[in-house]
């Protein structure tokens, strides 16, 4: 079964390497990059609007290495307590008031929009495209052909989408340059991967069960 799935994956990856597909992929990558670039341009204004205590949240506290309820150490305080982070670590970087905003924006744009949109484009029609192209019967008469096609096309769709998500995350982090850049990048990459696997599986299920209206049903499940 896995041999078949990998054969389909290789074939589909090669077959889908078209100008149209690459253009859509680039659009997916560039959409968050554009939004983040605009926000970065207006960052001083946005930062000026943020109240000083607006982000005394768990996210900021965790970022600063504080337990919930623990008071923040100032520079002149007791030096005997444990240092929140080892010197030189990424989390040691000076927290930026924009960091939580970048977190929300990245999460909203990349795992929630790019991943979903990419998967919506490529996963729900995975069975219907073969039926419409009248190629299904050729695949169905191969040993474990149906399962191989399903798995192979699922892998192809999540590869395309995950690559878009990872590329977009990397570009956005480089542009935004948040205080916790590496940590934010790692979290977003992990979220994109998980979102691709999970949403891809849900949309595949819809695409198999309700292949005629898979796209409409997949959109309505959001």
């Amino acid at each position: 079964m896995w041999h078949g799935a990998l054969v389909v994956f290789r074939f589909e990856l090669r077959r889908t390497m078209t100008l149209n597909r690459v253009a859509i992929w680039l659009l997916l990558v560039l959409f968050p990059v554009f939004i983040v670039s605009v926000m970065k341009y207006y960052e001083p204004e946005i930062e000026g609007e943020i109240p000083r205590d607006a982000f005394n949240s768990r996210q900021v506290r965790v970022q600063r290495g504080l337990a919930w309820g623990e008071e923040e150490h100032d520079g002149d305080g007791d030096e005997s307590g444990p240092a929140p982070h080892p010197r030189g670590s990424a989390a040691e970087a000076e927290p930026n008031p924009m960091d939580p905003i970048w977190g929300f924006v990245f999460f909203g744009l990349i795992p929630e929009v790019i991943t979903l949109f990419g998967l919506l484009l490529w996963v729900p029609p995975l069975v219907h495209a073969e039926l419409e192209g009248r190629t299904w019967i050729y695949l169905a008469v191969r040993p474990r052909g149906r399962v191989s096609v399903l798995l192979g096309k699922y892998l192809t769709a999540i590869t395309w989408t995950a690559l878009a998500g990872w590329a977009s995350t990397t570009a956005c982090v480089l542009i935004a340059q948040p205080g916790c850049a590496l940590r934010l990048w790692g979290t977003m990459v992990a979220l994109v991967t998980l979102a691709c696997l999970a949403y891809g599986a849900i949309y595949s299920l819809i695409g198999v069960w309700l292949h005629r209206r898979a796209m409409a049903i997949a959109v309505s499940t959001r």
Partner: protein
């Protein structure tokens, strides 16, 4: 090789195939029937794509339904056209062969051999979007036998082929049959099947009406009245001559009496006698048609036998 026992396939209330019982030994068979007769349903039952509503199907000793290993021994060339516009025939056939569990290199080697055999040597690396219908038919045939199955099933393989293409395809299939492997060739054109298969299965309305070699089928039809349609200037006089000669079983007047439809068991005698009558009575024949050679006529006759009317 193939056994069907009282197999019926229903699509809701529509009958695909109706109570078919047959047993086929290894060999080559032509499955002949008009469009919508149930050929494709029967092939889908044999390849395990459909499960019979009633009855039992066995192929090479196994039930084909969800029997993946059996698919390695079967090559199917479906009637539906295929279109992957930006993929070459070589890539597509290699891909399908690889799905049979072969390595990438071996699949490519077999795909090249199969495509060469169907005359696609010079075009196998071109994208399929640029292919003519005939080239796509050849590619479809190549994917069916590239993995070296023991049973090849072809559904309307001659569609879209020009006369040269038909001849070449016939030669490929003859070579296949000569190699001792089995073949089922479904078509609605009798002579195409006759050129490849020594034995027929005639199917219509989801039922197998007759089976056997062409000679047996002809013998079966020998006693069935043939119909000849004649449009002439003096149809009543000609009808009288038919009745007096005793050559006709029945005569019907059509087209407000301008045409007669003669039913006869001795068509050869009729065709011998007719020129004499034309000369003797100065008859002018505007149109004469015999549907006896057409598949439709063959099936009409078989249906009458099947219903016990002939």
């Amino acid at each position: 090789m193939i056994e069907l026992q009282n197999v019926t396939k229903l699509y809701g209330t529509v009958i695909g195939v109706n109570d078919i019982t047959l047993s086929l030994a290894p060999g080559a068979y032509g499955l002949v029937g008009p469009n919508g007769s149930g050929k494709t349903t029967l092939l889908n039952l044999i390849t395990g794509q459909l499960r019979p509503t009633i009855g039992r199907v066995r192929v090479l000793g196994q039930s084909p339904w969800k029997q993946d290993q059996l698919l390695r021994a079967i090559g199917l060339c479906p009637a539906v056209d295929v279109l992957y516009p930006n993929v070459s025939a070589l890539e597509w056939v290699s891909y399908l062969v690889e799905l049979h569990g072969l390595s990438s290199a071996e699949a490519r080697r077999r795909a090249e051999t199969a495509l060469r055999e169907v005359g696609m040597e010079s075009t196998m690396r071109r994208s399929m979007g640029t292919y003519s219908l005939g080239m796509r038919q050849r590619t479809k045939l190549a994917q069916a036998f590239a993995h070296d199955p023991s049973l090849l099933i072809l559904d309307e393989p001659f569609n879209g082929l020009d006369p040269i293409g038909r001849h070449e395809m016939t030669e490929v299939l003859r070579r296949w049959v000569r190699s001792g492997r089995s073949l089922i060739l479904a078509s609605h054109i009798l002579h195409e099947v006759e050129a490849v298969s020594p034995s027929f299965l005639l199917i219509r309305g989801g039922r197998v009406l007759a089976s056997g070699p062409p000679d047996e089928i002809r013998a079966l039809l020998a006693d069935v009245p043939n119909e000849i349609r004649i449009r002439c200037n003096r149809p009543r006089l000609l009808a009288c001559e038919f009745v007096e000669s005793g050559l006709s079983e029945s005569i019907r007047f059509l087209d407000q009496g301008e045409t007669i439809l003669v039913s006869t068991r001795s068509p050869v005698a009729v065709f011998e006698q007719l020129p004499h009558w034309l000369a003797k009575f100065d008859l002018e024949v505007f149109e004469m048609r015999s549907a006896d050679d057409s598949l439709q006529r063959l099936f009409s006759s078989l249906m009458r036998i099947h219903r016990g009317e002939a």
